[in-house]
Point group: C2
Chain length 223, copies 2
DNA sequence: TGCGGTTTATGACAGCGGTCATAATACTGA
DNA sequence: TCAGTATTATGACCGCTGTCATAAACCGCA
């Protein structure tokens, strides 16, 4: 899922430790948005409970006083919004993957999704995982609203994926299930890759699951 | 994966004394073991950072003073051992599933693994997930030893699964990869199921991935 | 210029976290 | 019985957390 990073649209961001004043901070985003963005970044690195509000403000280059102003619901609101934002981000990225596929197929799309993570891990290390997964692990039991937010994020992520699969010839009735399978497998492989500090699990699941996915696309309906 | 249930005295049965009709006399575990066990339970429920040492002692019915005595390495040591224990537990359970399969096949084994979670969620609610996943999310970045412990747990879990797959006719070269795919998918579906508060994701991945796994067992190729 | 709102600044607080220091107790073995 | 170790019992400490209360600064607008 990723919380987005650098690139053209996110601008500022990473490097929590080095909050140095080196890079000019494009003010294209307001403090509120930056705090949500930073929260997602920190959550996916350290988990929800290890991410402090003050830390979020610092990371976002936002004044601490803005926290209670923009998020009167406290930390829970901030976390919920960060999770929802991450879901939207992942969904948007599906569209971008789709547009960039040389030849459309379920396995190619899955490879693109996994490949994005492989590239991130190779270039930036295994410091961060999926923020929605982190929020689920940390809050599913303790914060009902966050749990719901995570469920919404997964659904938001699933929808465009399922649409893409139907476009590949997967029966409409099966597409959402297959999309869920892809997301599940990616999330799990992400976890294991982070634990092992290796991209091998990601590469493995892409290699193993990809052909099986394609089998569903050409199975009976596609012509 | 699961960390067993009930309070500290439950143990995990380990086959003896539970089904053999003898007196069920719960074998009593020492405070140390109970604390590791309780730590796993609490971690999988609230995550690592939200689980306090004092809380672990209380849950285990163990004296607080024993914490620093048995775990001079502090919380990190306790967490590491809880994670390692969980890995061993999951591995042991593969053997039990295998022995109980009516007709051996990859899909049946996967269904058993998933089914265990479905049953737990149906009877005890969605309060808890996989402790190894929780530890990975919370500690992969901050605690190197815990990250390694989680990697070890996944490996410990993978080994008997891969062995079982080769027993089902999966080529030995592919078995570990397929085992990884199964674990990844299960972990991811677990996450989503918890977020949604529904067992549907678990049922879905079992239904979708199962047949694909069997396709690999029939001596079919993988290129 | 003054006013009303949005936004930011600061400080305090109450609580809990892990960890340490120290002492008391229980138990084993001679 | 006693010595010595293993275990348990407390209490304190310091740092950090989320949250609140309050006031200052800012800014568009008359």
């Amino acid at each position: 899922m990723d919380a987005g990073r650098g690139t053209a649209e996110a601008g500022d961001g990473k490097g929590t430790g080095e909050g140095d004043g080196g890079a000019p901070r494009p003010r294209t985003y307001g403090p509120r948005e930056r705090m949500v963005f930073s929260a997602a970044q920190l959550i996916r690195r350290d988990g929800v409970n290890a991410t402090g509000m003050r830390e979020v403000a610092v990371h976002a280059g936002a004044p601490r006083g803005s926290l209670q102003h923009y998020f009167p619901g406290g930390k829970q609101q901030l976390v919920d919004e960060a999770v929802a934002w991450s879901g939207r981000y992942a969904a948007r990225r599906i569209g971008r993957f789709l547009a960039a596929l040389p030849e459309p197929s379920p396995s190619a799309l899955f490879a693109a999704m996994v490949g994005q993570w492989i590239r991130e891990y190779e270039t930036e290390g295994f410091g961060a995982g999926c923020p929605v997964a982190a929020a689920t692990v940390d809050c599913a039991q303790s914060a009902e609203s966050t749990r719901r937010s995570a469920a919404g994020a997964f659904a938001t992520w699933n929808a465009p994926l399922a649409d893409a699969l139907t476009g590949f010839g997967v029966p409409a009735a099966q597409a959402p299930a297959l999309a869920l399978l892809m997301i599940s497998t990616l999330e799990g492989a992400l976890l294991i890759a982070r634990a092992e500090g290796s991209t091998a699990p990601l590469e493995t699941v892409a290699r193993e699951l990809g052909p099986l996915l394609d089998g569903c696309a050409t199975g009976r309906d596609r012509t």
